[in-house]
Structures are given as structure tokens and as C-alpha cells.
């Protein structure tokens, strides 16, 4: 008889599904099966069971081989690296709990670090746009219960947020949306014919990189003003039709992803997408929600928000918080060669940053804290494996709509492994010792 753990929260993407069920072996030590999760989520749980998993920190030797060290030695190395550095970067913070982020923030403050999270290469442009024009939004349950016009702009939830449509946006039979997907018009805007686009009632296959023009044209059409015959490769008839569809709905929502945040126009694309939403609120009800990637990238922006006042790109090197994306953003700092140490937790810049930046990480003193062996750990000088948050230790995480959910501990981590919060606490204590001695 397998033991079933219910209400498990999936620590993978910003959808933060909380209805997973995990079957454990009789002794409760091994995960046998994961129910309700998407393929990615289930794999994350099962992957934690890998027999060849790294369970102790390891330090890179001069010949490139790895040597096992204790957590205390790893904490000592990390603390010394951070204290000795004039301008260390502490990057990542997206695949971990808010309490770990909180301890990390204290370390960053003690050592005067630049702190940045994965938003910097993801929805950072969204955060900037929100600072420009605000954001009329709603929780995902509001959308499930009310929305009858759903737009996916530059995102592909069928693959990137696999349960989003079934849980929140297209299929649920909500309070005022009893007919499920039949009560909704689905519009997808994407230059590619994605699997999400194939499901849409309307697919606007715009020319790549012309999102701003098309959003602007929709604003024009909403106001009933004149348009040229074709905008961004879409005929004006179709644009008027889409504008009408949105205006005639009772509740419209725009979900958007990396297709607009990091294509030509960047934060300006989001500015105008938000402005479309604002305008729609003069006719009906409308909301806009970013499809945040990592399961707790939102949380790191929140924790830094209440501790420092800014959601990403923090520069604490002068002793007080400064925020200047483009100057204090990770890639700019790396490429300009301004850093003298790199600390990574809960993210994999080795896989996601431009190779110019990754080369810099490889040249600098660097520590990577990650349960997995990743491209980042491979180029770092020290790799500290930790317990999986949401599998082997609980902790708070914020969903893409900022709703905080407490992730669960399902199984024990391998013997003797620390959680990232515990490891960070070791580092913080050591940093304080070193600074006190100085």
C-alpha cells in the first residue's frame, strides 16, 4: 500500500499547482509516483530520487577535478569570497523559498552585494513597465470564475505552463463561466504556430518583432479610430474584430510571456499591453497577468520589495539600496567586468545567460548552490548541493499572480544534506564572524 500525500505544491513553474498527490513507499522515504502534475512537475519530484545525486559540496581543484568538502568548509569559502569581494553578485533566488531569500537578503546587505533574480532575463521588463504605467490585474481564480475573453500574447502555456489552461484560464467551469472553454473566446498572438495557437479561436500570426505596433493598433481599434490596411502583418478587419471581441466580453484577460518581454521593444511592449488593458476597463472589465517562469521568482521580488523597496537589480554596494536596471542588472555587470565574485542560488545562468556573461562567471571566484549539476555548477569554483525546496523542505512561494502558497515537504532529503536556508544561515553567521574580526 503506497502512502499518498495530498495537497502537494509543485515547485516548478509560476503556475504553482497545489493539488498534486504524491505516492510514497511504505517507509515514506521514496517517491514512487506523482499524480495530477504535468510532465515537467512530475519529473522534478522523481528526479530528486536519482541514485547518483550529488549530496555533498564539492570544490573545483586546479586540474579541473572536483573534491568533496564539508558544508562548513563550503560556507567558509562562500563567506570569505563574499566578504573579500568589493562587488559580488548574488544572483538567482527564483527556485527557493521566501525564508531562504530573506536570509540571502541579509547576507547581501552585510557584504554589500549586487542582488538580482531571474526576472533580469525574463519579466524584468514587465516590472519596469509596471513602474511606468501600473498594472490592472486579478488573481487566477478571478479569471477562472469570470473571464470570457482570454488572450495569450507571446507565450505558449501548452508547453511552458502546461496546467495553466486547465486550472485557470481556458477549461475551468468557474462560478460565472459554467460552460468552461465554451464560455470563453481564446485569442493567441504569436508569430509561431505553437500548440497553444492551434487551440485558439483566433490566432493572430503577427510579424516577428512587431508586437508594439499591433498592440497600438488594437488600442486604436478599441477607440474606433482609423487604421492602415495592414499592421504587423494583420489585416485591419481582423484587428477591428479582435478589438470588438475584447470590448464585448464581460471580463477580458491578457496573459503574456517572453515573446513580448524580450523581443524588440521590451518594456515598451508591456507598457502598451497594459495600456490596452487600462483602456478596456473603460468599456468592460479587463486584467493582465505576466506568465512568470520560476515557481518563486515572484516571491524574490516581493521579499526584496518589503526589505529594500525594489523587485530586482539591487545594488547594495554603497550600504543603501540602489536600483538602476541596465547598470545594476546582472548581465550588464558581468559584461562590463565590474564584478569580482559570483554567487548563484536557485537558478541556472550558465544555461540562460549569454555566453559572454557565462565566461565571466567561469573566470571569477564563484559558488553555485543548486541540487542539480548544471551548466552553472560546472563553471563555478564551488558547488553546494542542497535539499529540493517543495520536495524535501517546505517554504513559502508566490504564484505568478502574487498569491503566496506554502510548499510542502514530502520526503526527507538524503542523510546529512542541508536545505538552502540552513546553508545560507551558516554563510551569514560566518560572514558576521569575519566582519566582526575585521
Amino acid at each position: 500500500m503506497a502512502k499518498i500525500v495530498t495537497d502537494v505544491v509543485c515547485p516548478f513553474c509560476g503556475t504553482l499547482c497545489d493539488d498534486l498527490e504524491v505516492a510514497l513507499s511504505d517507509d515514506g522515504k521514496e517517491i514512487l509516483e506523482v499524480y495530477n502534475a504535468c510532465a515537467i512537475g512530475a519529473t522534478k519530484f522523481l528526479h530528486s530520487q536519482a541514485s547518483d545525486r550529488l549530496t555533498r559540496p564539492q570544490k573545483k581543484q586546479e586540474d579541473g577535478s572536483w573534491k568533496e568538502v564539508t558544508y562548513d568548509e563550503a560556507a567558509d569559502y562562500t563567506a570569505k569570497m563574499l566578504v573579500d569581494a568589493k562587488k559580488p553578485l548574488m544572483y538567482g533566488w527564483s527556485s527557493t523559498s521566501c525564508s531562504a531569500q530573506g536570509v540571502g537578503a541579509e547576507i547581501g546587505e552585510e557584504v554589500g552585494a549586487c542582488m538580482d533574480n531571474t526576472a533580469t532575463v525574463c519579466h524584468g521588463s514587465t516590472l519596469i513597465a509596471v513602474q511606468d504605467v501600473g498594472v490592472p490585474s486579478a488573481t487566477l481564480g478571478e479569471i477562472a470564475n469570470r473571464a470570457d475573453r482570454v488572450v495569450f500574447w507571446g507565450c505558449n502555456p501548452a508547453h511552458a505552463h502546461p496546467r495553466h489552461m486547465s486550472r485557470y484560464s481556458i477549461f475551468p467551469r468557474g462560478f460565472f463561466t459554467g460552460k468552461g472553454s465554451k464560455s470563453r473566446q481564446m485569442i493567441v498572438v504569436d508569430p509561431r504556430n505553437t500548440d497553444t495557437a492551434k487551440m485558439a479561436d483566433v490566432h493572430l500570426q503577427l510579424e516577428q518583432g512587431h508586437d508594439y505596433e499591433l498592440l497600438s493598433a488594437i488600442r486604436v481599434a478599441i477607440r474606433g479610430e482609423k487604421l492602415p490596411d495592414v499592421v504587423a502583418g494583420i489585416s485591419k478587419e481582423q484587428i477591428y474584430e479582435v478589438a470588438d471581441t475584447l470590448k464585448s466580453g464581460r471580463f477580458a484577460v491578457i496573459f503574456f510571456g517572453m515573446g513580448v518581454t524580450h523581443s524588440l521593444g521590451k518594456n515598451h511592449n508591456i507598457d502598451i499591453a497594459i495600456s490596452v488593458t487600462r483602456d478596456l476597463n473603460d468599456y468592460t472589465k479587463a486584467a493582465i497577468v505576466p506568465m512568470r517562469g520560476h515557481y518563486n521568482v515572484t516571491g524574490s521580488g516581493q521579499v526584496w520589495g518589503w526589505q529594500f523597496g525594489f523587485p530586482f537589480c539591487l545594488d547594495l554596494t554603497r550600504g543603501f539600496a540602489r536600483y538602476n536596471p541596465g547598470d545594476s542588472s546582472s548581465n550588464d555587470l558581468l559584461v562590463r567586468d565590474e564584478l569580482d565574485a559570483v554567487f548563484v542560488l536557485g537558478s541556472d545562468p550558465g544555461a540562460h545567460f549569454p555566453v559572454r556573461s557565462v565566461k565571466k562567471i567561469a573566470q571569477l571566484p564563484s559558488v553555485c548552490i543548486d541540487p542539480h549539476i548544471t551548466p552553472t555548477s560546472a563553471v563555478s569554483k564551488m558547488h553546494v548541493p542542497v535539499a529540493f525546496v517543495g520536495v524535501e523542505v517546505g517554504g513559502c512561494a508566490y504564484r505568478m499572480d502574487n498569491v503566496p502558497i506554502e510548499t510542502k515537504k514530502v520526503v526527507e532529503p538524503p542523510e546529512g544534506m542541508l536545505t538552502d536556508e540552513e546553508f545560507l544561515q551558516l554563510v551569514l553567521n560566518r560572514v558576521r564572524e569575519l566582519k566582526g574580526a575585521a
Binding site: 513602474q131 488573481t139 481564480g141 518589503w306 523597496g309 547594495l316 543603501f320 502558497i405 506554502e406
Partner: protein, 573 residues
């Protein structure tokens, strides 16, 4: 624990009737005791200074999702005001929406011991508690919002008080909340469809219930449970010219309702930020807009079961934030600044808009005047509390400035004559010109300590220096005999407490923060009889309409509420 003896200060404690007498205040084991009961205490010399119980803030937005949105979407609010940590203190930043650390240090420097977070969306309770946890020194609680909650709307449509009460008790327990807040009753649910409830008799779409039924039902349910705090309302049509009639309609719902509780609370309805609800006229133009504070406060003076706080406009650039979603949308159309909004499934909504109360405009000056009038017309200062609805009418750090205006007619005249562009027009359209009342230190202690503590049901802990109460004492560098010449001395003194003792610990010493205290989170655990119908409704709503499971809704664990102070209420009889 160190004992303290505060000697030679001018003590103001309305609860004991001490009005500026030189009395020694003693603290032993974290509590106030008789001066003779301490042995070898640390002496604090308060010669020439004012001594009061630590202040109690009944309504401020200092923690939670909309507060943090206010921080994150306004980097400009931190321009030139981020400071480095020093001593015990960490980095700080922010003016109208300070970081949690600055909030805590500000409160300490202003001599506060307790603050009530004014609106907690239940689904976001974890967020609110995470911020409260990271705000050191002061004790805090948070009021979950109920006025647009689907359970409440459905029960109150049928006037099911017992079920409403059972649901409230369940939700307080789940979210670790303190009491019942009601923001724009029915209006925020209507805002789910882009609509609003503008009067107490507008019907909420689909739910077919009126704000009148919601307010009345929540008051009844609150008294049914006997909660420490009363129903805390922000009524319909906030900020609209001519809304005072709606305010009176709302207040009159409480007519004849008697308080039922074991906490010494005497009111059944608290109308928050009354200033925003006292407008006459038909537009914001100076030829139409007028103050109706006298009419509203006169009504409150005529009854004994209503309290309010002021919500004084401080004429700053600030950040407005409220669970009144439709109002913020309306505001964003008035000033065309950025607008954030979040509607919360089944529960509530919220909006955030930066706002500049410009002293060069008539309307901002009139709002400033009305807020002060609300404080000056009150007959019983135990029922009118000084707030700025921080940060809506003004930032938290402006409390001392508001005290100055209330305590000095000279300071008010100076504003009307020299700072406000339309001073004369404001004298004409508002009552400020006819008011020469100056709030005394004794009354100030009522309006910032004894009064709010009593209405929060916490008079057995805070608001006075009576032996047995919490050892929360503030000492201000203000000499009531010699410092009356210059109103600026009031503002300085109340923003720069010389000493603050909180829970028996010395937090502020000679103006410097020296300890992070022993912060507690207050919440109310109300026991009700088993109610299978409400339990069934709850599980049904979670199964069908919430996007989190019922088991994942509960706020639990030491990382959310590491140091709880639970007030037990038994409503099973």
C-alpha cells in the same frame, strides 16, 4: 529583565486621570507596576519631558500585498531617501511606502507600541504575515476584509447572522486575523464586473444584497462573536463630493446596537478615515465643494456606539492604496498616473495609485481642513483617533505634523495664510476658520492611546500606564510648561521620542534605536459551535471556485507567525 523607573516626567494618562502631573512610572518584568514595586531599577530621567503610554495605531497600511506593490511599482518613492544601516539598524528606504524596517524604526521613533494593518486580503494573508514578521519592534495585528466576500454576501442576503459569524471565526483562524474589516461593502465585488455600489441601497450584481445589509449583518455577527474590535468600516462612495449623506446612512445602520464583548469596548462601528467621507457639494470645484464634517461628527457626538479615525491629508506626494478597487480606478482617471489593481477571487479587490495632494489646489487644502475638523469637532476624544490612513491621506512619518495642527490654532492659521494657495476659499467652504479649539496633551493621549486601545479591545494591555498593563512607555522631549511657544516643537518632539520602552525592553534610548524588541503578532481565535452547513459551504467553494485547495489556505507555521499573541473568544454559548 531590567526594571525601569521613569522619573520626574510630566505624565499624561487619561485612563487614570493623570493630566501632566509629575508621577514616576515603573516597569517590572515587562509590565507597568507601582513605583514602589521596583528594586534597583534603571532610572530614566524624564525631567522636562512628556511621558505617555506607547501610542496605538488603529488603522495604517504598512504590510501586505498592496503595500508591497506600492513599494515595487514606485521606485521614485525612494529617490534620495535610502539610508544605510547603522548600529542595530538595517538599510531603510521609501517615503510614502517605507520598507518594513523603516516602518518599524519610524513607529519606534514616534513612540508607538502597536499598529493594526488595516486591510488583509485573506488569500494573501501569508504575504501580510511575512511582512509583519519582518517588521521588528512593534506589535501588530491585521484585519481581514469581509465586505465583498462571497460567503458573507450569500449569508447576509438571507440575514444568516449565525452562519456569517461561524464563517468569520473560521477565517480569522485560517488567516490569523484580528477582526472584521469592511471596505466599500458590495462595491468591490461589483468591481469584478467594472461596476460599483455608490449608496447603501445599491444592489450587488448577481448576489442581490445591498451594502446596508452587509454592514448591518457584519456588525451583528461581530457582536454575536463578541470580538475585541468592532466592525471596522470604510463606507461606499469614498472621496466623492456629496458623500456625507451616504456616510450618515452607513453610520445610522449602527443605531441602537449594543456592544457585546468582554474587552471593555463600547462601540459597535468604527468608521475609518472619516475625512474622506465628509464631503458636500457636487464637484471638486471651489464653488461647489464644501465640508460636511460638522454634520457627520455632530451625529457621532449624538450617539455613543460609534468611533472613527481622522485620515488627515498631509499635503504630500503619497501612494493611495485600498481594497476599494473601483475608487482607485476612478482616481487614476482623475490624475492619469499609473494604476495597479488586483481583484482577489471570492474575497475582495484592491487598487493603488500615486497621488499628489498639492497645497496649491483648492481641493487638497479643503481635504486637509476637513481631516482636522473631524478631530476638532469631537466631544469625546476617546472616540476619535488620529491617523493619516497611512499612506492614503499622508505618509506615516507625518503623524507628528498632524498632532501639531490639531494642537495649535497658530499652526493651522499659518497653513491657511501662508502655505495653502486658497486659504480664504477654504475658510469659506469648510469649518476650519471657525475652530479655535486646540487639542491638549491629555486629549492627544486619548486620541492616540487610550481611545484606540479601547476600541481595539486591547485596553487591558495598551493605552495607559495603569499597573498591570504592558510595559509600553514613550517619553517625548516636550516640556508642556515651557515649549508651548512654538508649534514646531510639538512636531519635533513627537517624531523623536527620547525613550521608548516596549514590553519592558528599552528600544529607544536618548533618541537612538538600541534594541529590536520582542515583536508579537496579535490574532483572535473565536470559538463557535460546530456549523456543518458553513463547513460544507467552505469545502464546496474551495473545491469548485478557489484556485488553492482548502488545506493550502491555512496560514500556519513559525515562519509566518513566529511570536503569536492569541486572544481567545468563546461564542459557543
Amino acid at each position: 529583565m531590567t526594571d525601569y523607573l521613569i522619573k520626574n516626567g510630566f505624565v499624561f494618562d487619561p485612563v487614570q486621570g493623570i493630566n501632566g502631573d509629575k508621577v514616576d512610572v515603573a516597569i517590572k518584568d515587562g509590565k507597568i507596576v507601582d513605583a514602589g514595586d521596583v528594586t534597583n531599577p534603571t532610572i530614566i530621567d524624564a525631567t522636562g519631558m512628556t511621558v505617555m503610554a506607547a501610542a496605538v495605531d488603529i488603522h495604517a497600511h504598512v504590510a501586505g500585498p498592496k503595500v508591497n506593490m506600492g513599494r515595487n511599482f514606485r521606485p521614485e518613492d525612494k529617490l534620495f531617501n535610502c539610508t544605510a544601516g547603522s548600529g542595530m539598524k538595517r538599510m531603510e528606504g521609501g517615503f510614502s511606502v517605507p520598507t518594513v524596517l523603516r516602518t518599524a524604526y519610524l513607529y519606534a521613533r514616534m513612540g508607538f507600541g502597536f499598529s493594526m494593518e488595516a486591510a488583509m486580503p485573506p488569500l494573501y494573508a501569508r504575504h501580510t504575515h511575512e511582512e509583519i514578521r519582518d517588521t521588528p519592534i512593534i506589535d501588530q495585528g491585521a484585519l481581514p476584509v469581509f465586505g465583498n466576500n462571497w460567503f458573507v454576501l450569500e449569508y447576509l442576503k438571507e440575514n444568516e447572522i449565525e452562519n456569517t459569524a461561524a464563517y468569520i471565526a473560521w477565517l480569522l483562524n485560517q488567516t490569523k486575523g484580528f477582526g472584521v474589516k469592511c471596505v466599500n461593502p458590495g462595491g468591490t465585488e461589483s468591481w469584478g464586473w467594472g461596476l460599483n455600489c455608490e449608496t447603501v441601497d445599491d444592489v450587488v450584481p448577481y448576489f442581490d444584497v445591498t451594502p446596508r445589509q452587509i454592514v448591518s449583518g457584519l456588525i451583528e455577527a461581530n457582536e454575536y462573536l463578541g470580538l475585541p474590535h468592532c466592525m471596522h468600516v470604510h463606507g461606499n462612495s469614498l472621496g466623492e463630493p456629496g458623500n456625507y449623506g451616504i456616510t450618515l446612512d452607513t453610520l445610522k445602520i449602527a443605531e441602537g446596537v449594543k456592544p457585546q464583548n468582554d474587552f471593555g469596548r463600547e462601540v459597535v462601528l468604527h468608521n475609518t478615515h472619516l475625512q474622506f467621507h465628509c464631503y458636500g457639494g457636487e464637484s471638486y470645484a471651489s464653488k461647489s465643494f464644501e465640508s460636511k464634517s460638522k454634520e457627520v461628527v455632530n451625529y457621532i457626538n449624538s450617539v455613543d456606539n460609534i468611533s472613527y479615525d481622522l485620515g488627515v491629508v498631509t499635503l504630500d506626494e503619497t501612494t493611495t492604496m485600498t481594497a476599494d478597487g473601483p475608487f482607485e480606478h476612478h482616481l487614476s482617471h482623475m490624475n492619469n498616473l499609473k494604476w495597479a489593481n488586483t481583484d482577489v477571487e471570492l474575497e475582495t479587490g484592491s487598487g493603488i495609485v500615486p497621488f499628489i495632494y498639492n497645497p496649491k489646489t483648492f481641493i487638497a487644502g479643503a481635504q486637509w481642513a476637513i481631516g482636522l475638523e473631524c478631530g476638532l469637532f469631537i466631544k469625546d476624544p476617546m472616540r476619535a483617533y488620529i491617523t493619516t490612513d497611512a499612506p492614503n491621506a499622508g505618509p506615516l512619518c507625518r503623524y507628528p505634523r498632524v498632532y501639531k495642527w490639531l494642537m495649535s490654532a497658530k499652526a493651522r492659521d499659518d497653513m491657511l495664510d501662508n502655505t495653502l494657495k486658497y486659504g480664504d476659499k477654504i475658510r469659506e467652504r469648510c469649518y476650519i476658520g471657525e475652530l479655535d479649539r486646540e487639542i491638549s496633551l491629555y486629549e492627544l493621549a486619548m486620541m492616540t492611546r487610550a481611545g484606540p486601545a479601547k476600541t481595539l479591545g486591547l485596553s487591558h494591555m495598551f493605552g495607559s500606564l495603569k499597573p498591570g498593563l504592558e510595559g509600553d512607555v514613550a517619553v517625548y522631549p516636550y516640556n508642556p510648561e515651557t515649549d508651548t511657544d512654538d508649534p514646531e516643537k510639538i512636531e519635533y518632539a513627537f517624531g523623536n521620542a527620547a525613550y521608548l520602552i516596549k514590553g519592558g525592553k528599552l528600544i529607544v534610548k536618548e533618541g537612538e534605536i538600541v534594541d529590536m524588541g520582542n515583536k508579537r503578532t496579535f490574532w483572535v481565535n473565536a470559538k463557535v459551535n460546530e456549523n456543518p452547513m458553513v463547513e460544507r459551504d467552505i469545502s464546496e467553494k474551495f473545491r469548485r471556485y478557489y484556485t488553492v485547495t482548502q488545506n493550502n489556505y491555512t496560514v500556519e507555521g513559525p515562519h509566518f507567525v513566529p511570536n503569536p499573541y492569541v486572544i481567545e473568544v468563546d461564542a459557543t454559548k
